[in-house]
Every structure is written in C-alpha cells, then in structure tokens.
Amino acid sequence: MDNPNLAIADSNRQERETIVVRFAGDSGDGIQIIGGQLGLASALEGNDLATFPDYPSEVRAPTGSTFGVWAYQLHFGGRPIKTVGVEPDMLVALHPAALKTNLPLLRKGGIVLVDIGSFTKRNLKKAGYESSPLEDENLKDYQVFSPDMSKLTLESVAAIDLSKKDSLRSKNFWALGMVFWMFDRSLVNTCDWLRAKFIKTPLLADGNIAALKAGHAFGETIEASGDMAGYVVPSIVMESGVYRSVTGSETIAWGLAAAAELAERQLVFASYPITPSTPVLHHLAKLKDLGVVTFQAEDEIAAMGAAIGAAWAGAFGATASSGPGIALKQEAIALAVSAELPVVVVNTQRAGPSTGLPTKTEQSDLYQAVFGRHGDAPIPVLAARSPQDCFDCAIDAARIALTYMTPVILLTDGFIANASGPWQVPDMDALPKIDVRNHIETEGFHPMQRNPETLARVWPVPGTPGLEHRIGGIEKDFETGHISYDPKNHQKMTDIRSKKIDVISQLLAPLEVDLGEEGADVAVVTWGSTYGPASRAVTEMQANGHSVAHVHLRYLYPFAPNQHELMSTFKRILVPEMNTGQLITLMRNQLCPPVTGLSKITGRPFLIREIRAAILTELEAVK
C-alpha cells in the first residue's frame, strides 16, 4: 500500500491508492470463489487488479492442516496494477492453520479477520498452536477482528430452510460481506451472481446472500461503534471497451483458437496432463463447436507427435506442457525443425529441475527452449508477460510458426497461468489474418521448395493430387527434397535453417522502451512474468527522480532486430530473472553494456523492493 493516509474521504473512510487482500482456508472453503467476487466487484468500482491463487500440491489435504491451506491473493487499486502485491493489507483466515501459515506475509499493522468459531482445541493443535494466538502476543502488531463467523453465519441464515452443513458453507460469503464493507464495495453484483449460479437451488442463493449481507452489516456496526471506518480506493480511467477477468491458461487457449480462426485452419491441440499447464487443455476441450480438436495423448511424446502429424496433414498443430514434459518432446520438435512443419509448443514453466516445486513458479526453461535440442535445431522462442499478454503471444507464436513453417516455443509460467486480471476483450475483426496457403502447384514441385524471401518451405498437404512426396528426419536435398547424405548439402540445409531465424528476426516488431527513455543510466531488462514487479519498481524509482528505464522482451530467440542497438544506449543493464541468469547468457552473445543479473529461485515472484534495491546498486555503479 503506497501513500497511506493519502486523503480523508467524505465519510471517515481513509483513502488508499491500492489494497492487497489475502484469503486463506481449506480447499473446500470456497476461497477462490470469494476472491473472484472481490475481484469482479473491484473491477466494477473502476479499479485495475491482479489476482493469484496459491494452492498446495496435495489435492485434498486433511482439513485444518497447515500443508492443506489454500490462499487467494488480490491486489486492486486506482493505478495500473502490475503485481499481485507484496504484503497483504488484510488477511482473512478461515481457520487457525490458515492464520498460522499466512500471518508472516501480512504487513505490520495490517488487518486480520479470523473466525473465532473455528479456533477449537483440535484445530489449534492441527495448526501447531500451543494456545490460541488471539490470547497471546502473536497478533499484537495487527488490527484483529475475530467474530464467531460460524455462529453468525448460522444465525444469518436461520430463517432459510437449509441443512446445518449447507448453512455453514455460506461462511465464506459472510467473510466476503465484511471485506466488502471494509473496502466499500457494492453487494449488488455478487447477489446477482449468486442468484444466477444457484438458479436451480435458490435456497442456497438465499443463504449465501443472507450471509453476505450479515457480514456487511457486521462491518457497519464496527463503523457505528467508531472503532474503524474502513477504506476507499480511488478508481482509475481504463481504456473504454468490454472487459472480463481472465487467467493466463484461458488466454493461451483462446489465443490458439483465435489463431486457428485467423489462419482458417483447424486447431489440433494435443497434450498430456501436467501441472501447471493442464488447464489449457481443459479450456480448449470446451471449444469443440468451434471445430477445435483436442487430443489427450498417452504421453508427452505422443502429444508432440500428434501435433506434428496434424501439421503435416494441414492443420494448425499445437501442444502445451511444462519443463519435464518439454524435455520429452524435444526429439520430436527437432523432427519438426528438419521437416519444416509449423507447431506451437507452449511451456508453462514451473520450478525445476525434475518434479521440483510443480505448483510454484520459475523461469528456468529458457536454456531448454533455446538450446535444448540435439543437432543444430534453432527455433523461435517467445515469452508472455502476463495473463492478458498470453492471448497476443499465442497469436504471435502461431503467426511465426505458420508463416515460416517452423516450430515455435511460447514460454509462460505457473504464475501467469493461474493469475488473473481484467482484460479488454479483443475485437477479432481488428486482428490481421494469418494468410498461409496449402501448396497446390504441381509444376516443378518438390517437398523442400521454399519461398526465397521468408525461406518458408511449401506446405503440400496429403490429399492433394500430384504432390505425393516423402519427407522425414533424414537430411533432404535442397534441390529435390529427396534424402541426401551429401556433405555440402547438409551444410547448406543447416545454413538455411539458421538463416530462417535471421529472416524472422528482421521482421519482428522492434523493441521499445516500456518505461523511461533510451540512454537512461540503468535499464531493467526483463522477460516473462518478471515484467510486473520490474515495471512497478522502475515506476517507483523514476518517481524518485532516478534515470531508470524498463525494457521488456517478448522475443527471446531471435531477439528483436534493434535490440542490440537499443541496449547499447544504456550505461548499465540489470536483468532480474527467476533463474540463475539464463537471459544474461543469451544477451552476452551480443556485445552490450555491462549486464548484472538479479537472480531469485524461491518459487515466488520478485518483490518490488528487491528489484529497487538492485537498481540502486546499479545506479551507484554508474557514478
């Protein structure tokens, strides 16, 4: 929360530019649902926002256990929101274990809302508390509200004919009601949402609405008693348009489907379940009526093979996985390099190596994407920076793959895949078509014919009379497309594959400075989800009068054509990465000013202050 006490609003509410709220409880507590509702309500109040679910790898851990705590964090406010926030201003903990595990994150002085009704001996013990933390020094640094939410929820729904179990399940909405009061959000939309969701079981809607209102009323009594007046958050002017909330998994899925529509080709999406990439398959499986074919393959290799087979037969082939799965696909990706077939491979990166921390985020598969194949097998590599950016990146990746007949890797990560934020729904009519035709000309045809400018191989699709041909992973003759063991030809074909990357580089959108000016003392250069915290850190440093710029890369291999030129204008470059310095290695292949890495491999995103501190050090070095 920056600028506390910015202004005192009309009521006694304090104004805060941004607020971070964290909900925590059991997997069955509906944490994600109320988090989502607070997000929507905030968007409707004119806030920008970002959200992130933080869940354990256990599918259903025992209730009340510390290792089974689910959390959902939300950052909203009256300026562009680029991170999910560092230290929550408010923690809603539905049981002792949720308090125990999440309290250390909370800002000192922050607000704690707990359900005293859940603080039973048994639950305290499960959480590892010797005695109730409400009765000792544990919470002295915070503003604590500890109503008996369970009891109050039961009371609020007493008039509705619900079982005790169903009544108690409305507790999350009671808590949400209290949070709505705290930040002055309207209840109307959530009530509508509940009525629509429980259209077949209206009693459940009534119960949840009653609990929501009761929680809100509880807040009003606090206000009336003069203990506290809650907060207001200013709104921000967003570009006009239709908005919705999206996760990165949704935008990847829709981006691939949109690319298929722009290219007028059937999307064949083949993949194998792996955390945190799987939701892309779920989202695409719901689009059958759009002609999307999804295929849950027997393994990662089969998924890649099927995407390649589909591409060979004329479809838009795509697959998604995470690091360990991508490792299995690499042999086949090299076949797509050799046979020059267009496929998009999405890697939702997670903390590695091996199983690593499968639900935690990292950006450590850049080497794998760029260098991880056998042979000289260069392919373009792109990275998305946010859930919203995934849509554009998926189309961009598809456009490159289809235009140049090459596999493309698109990197996202567990954070981007699961985080959500408001997204201006794009207008499909405004997006340029992907104009790639099947080859049909039989005259002079051979399978390795290529466009002399783009170097793209022709796309002769089985089923086309007169173009019967054989291709494969064996080196092919440049002139005839027949298999060739000729040394000179292999040199030539290798050169062509590498030159294709140069051609692609020349046609990529030039790199621009995201924040600040060319020639700044220090440029912070980022890729992937490090965008958010770096952008905020640079904004803050600029506000303090420092000569700092932020440059964000979408194209990691090849780099944008002007990247070297742009980099050369800065005195020093700082590269924060959630790995041990992989982008730096790539950048050092181009001569550029001194580059310093800032590395973080904890499974958690960068904190803004960590980047600010590193920028300060770089600024010192300039002097």
Binding site: V242, A270, K288, D289, G309, A315, V425, G463, P465, R470
Partner: protein
C-alpha cells in the same frame, strides 16, 4: 476406404516410387513391399489419399518406396504422427510400417494406445526378432539365448508376443503372416485394409543378414505343413500335408490340443478374442497360427472425434471465438 477409390484402376507400378530400394538383397522386406503395393492397387485407392508413416529401422524405409504421401519420422513414434494426421484429416488411408524394436520396444506405449483407441489405419509389423539397422542386437521379440553383439553369451529377456500385446491392448483386427507366403500375405493385407479401425498385422520377416532362419521351424518349405496352421474364419482348424491333423479344445485346461482331423476339431471364429489369444499362444509342439486371428470391428476413433465436433456444432451453430470471449461475466468501461 470408400472415399479413396479411383475409378480407373491403378496398377502396382502406380504405387512404385522412383527411389531405389535399399534393403539388403534377399531381405524379407521386399515381399512385404510387393504385397502392400498390390493391396493398394487392387483396392483401387487414390495415391493422394494414401499415406505411409514409419519410425526408424530397416522397415521404416518403406515410405520412400511407395509412390504416395510418406513420412519417415522418429524411432517408435509413427503411431503418434499417424494419429495426429488422422485427427486433422480422418479420411486419409494410413499405413504404418514398423519393426519389432520400433513398435514394441521404444514405441511400445504408442502401439498400445493407437490400438486401444482404434484409430483407423493399417499397422504392418515387420518382425524379424533382431535390430537390423544397428547391426544385429537382440530385440524384444528375440528368443531367449539369442547370441548377438549385445548378448555374446545369449540374451536373457523372454520375448514379447506381439500378437498377444495387440489383443491385450484391445486391437479389433489382429493377423499374422509370413513374408514369403505371398498369397496369404496379400489376402491378409486386403482384409486389414478393408477393416475399419486399427488393423494389426504381424509379419514374420526373415533378416538373413543378422537372424537368418529364425522362423524357419514353421516357415521353411518342409516345415510349413506340420508346424504352421493357416486359419480362415469359419473353417476347421486343420493342418498337416493332408489336413489330417486338427486342433480341439481341451475342456480341462482350456488349451488347444492337437488331434486327428475327425476328433471334434474346432472351427475358427475370428470374432472370439479368447480363441485368438489361445491361437497366438501356440509354439513348440503345436503349430504356429497364421491368418486373421481376430476381426471384430468397433467404432473408429477419428470418426468419433469428428462426430463429437459435428454434434457440438449442431448444438451451437454460430458460436465463434469472439462469442466465447464475450461469454460469462463482462463489463463495459
């Protein structure tokens, strides 16, 4: 395949590419190539709809020699590429040429799954019980104690029964053939091609360079009659030079046992998986069964996939990706 029939009947020459065949002279692969081309020509298929996909190994060179669409892919993965191609275009007439190492070792998983899904294609397994291309190591179908460069004192692994694997994976068409029994081979390939769904044909193929005569005990001219039983659906299970021997079911062991032709010989029923399993089980002491062991069609995977899509389209006629993105909760700024 109906959509793939040419009116002016093509000839074997139409399916012969301009590439010089590079198998060792005398290799059993030649006769399989001949039989496949013949099957294509006789079925009158369109070259442009016909596809041969292979992995790696001697057998995997097959696509280069057939004048249609061909994809020589990577070791063991031909079923995956074929599945993808058929998802994109369900009407392609796909053949997979594979060897015992390719199909049963490195690609064993994919073989299992293409069979259980019942993807419409013809899988021809060139089983020579040896790795040819890498110069003679024992393979997953090599008999125990095979002497090879990687097993100088004999291999220890017990061999995989390819036909059992196919039946166990849920294949709906399973047959066995022998490379030099051209007439039977061609008729089996014809039946495999006519069968809608994954057709699995194991061909005992002689690699005379690295594993000569490995199947001679039931394929040699003087051994065929007594050590091989060529089965036909609906016909009695008879063998011997005068068809004087037969097989009957022992009710105690549920095994097929040899008997004289008159003694309650069983008739082959190619829709019985149990019988097919038992027939595929026979080795020493009983004749090796060749022919169509199992033929019991079921719905075709790629058709079902596209049927689901067609159904979804009928239900929601006009939805576009724009509509999808506009669905759910949106707000205007």
């Amino acid at each position: 395949m109906k959509s793939n029939v040419d009116n002016a009947k093509p000839t074997v020459a139409d399916f012969t590419s301009d590439q010089e065949v590079r198998w060792c002279p005398g290799c059993g692969d030649y006769s399989i190539l001949k039989a496949v081309r013949k099957t294509m020509a006789e079925a009158g298929v369109l070259r442009e709809n016909t596809v041969v996909i292979s992995g790696i190994g001697c057998a995997a060179r097959f696509p280069y020699y057939v004048d249609c669409y061909g994809f020589h892919t990577i070791h063991g993965r031909a079923p995956t590429i074929a599945t993808g191609a058929l998802l994109a275009n369900p009407d392609l007439d796909v053949w997979i040429a594979t060897g015992d190492g390719d199909a049963l070792s490195i690609g064993g998983n994919h073989m299992m799954h293409i069979l259980r899904r019942n993807v419409n294609c013809n899988i021809v397994l060139f089983n020579n019980a040896i790795y040819g291309l890498t110069k003679g190591q024992y393979s997953p179908t090599s008999r125990q104690n095979t002497i090879s460069p990687s097993s100088p004192v004999g291999s220890l692994d017990s061999p995989l029964n390819a036909t059992h694997l196919a039946l166990g994976s849920g294949a709906r068409f399973v047959a066995r053939a022998v490379d030099n029994q051209q007439v039977q081979l061609a008729s089996i390939l014809k039946a495999a091609h006519e069968h809608k769904g994954a057709s699995f044909v194991e061909v005992f193929q002689n690699c005379h360079v690295f594993n000569d005569h490995v199947f001679a005990d039931f394929t040699a001219r003087d051994k065929v009659a007594d050590n091989q039983i060529q089965i036909e659906n609906g016909e009695k299970l008879l063998y011997g030079s005068e068809k004087e021997k037969g097989l009957r079911l022992d009710p105690d062991t549920l095994e097929l046992v040899a008997c004289a032709a008159g003694e309650g010989v069983l008739r082959h029923n190619s829709t019985s998986r149990t019988l097919a399993m038992t027939l595929a089980d026979m080795d020493a002491g009983r004749p090796v069964a060749t022919g169509v062991l199992y033929n019991n069609p079921a719905p075709v995977y790629q058709n079902a996939v596209h049927e689901q899509i067609a159904m979804a389209k009928r239900r929601r006629k006009t939805r576009t990706i724009q509509d999808v993105m506009n669905e759910g909760y949106t707000w205007k700024v």
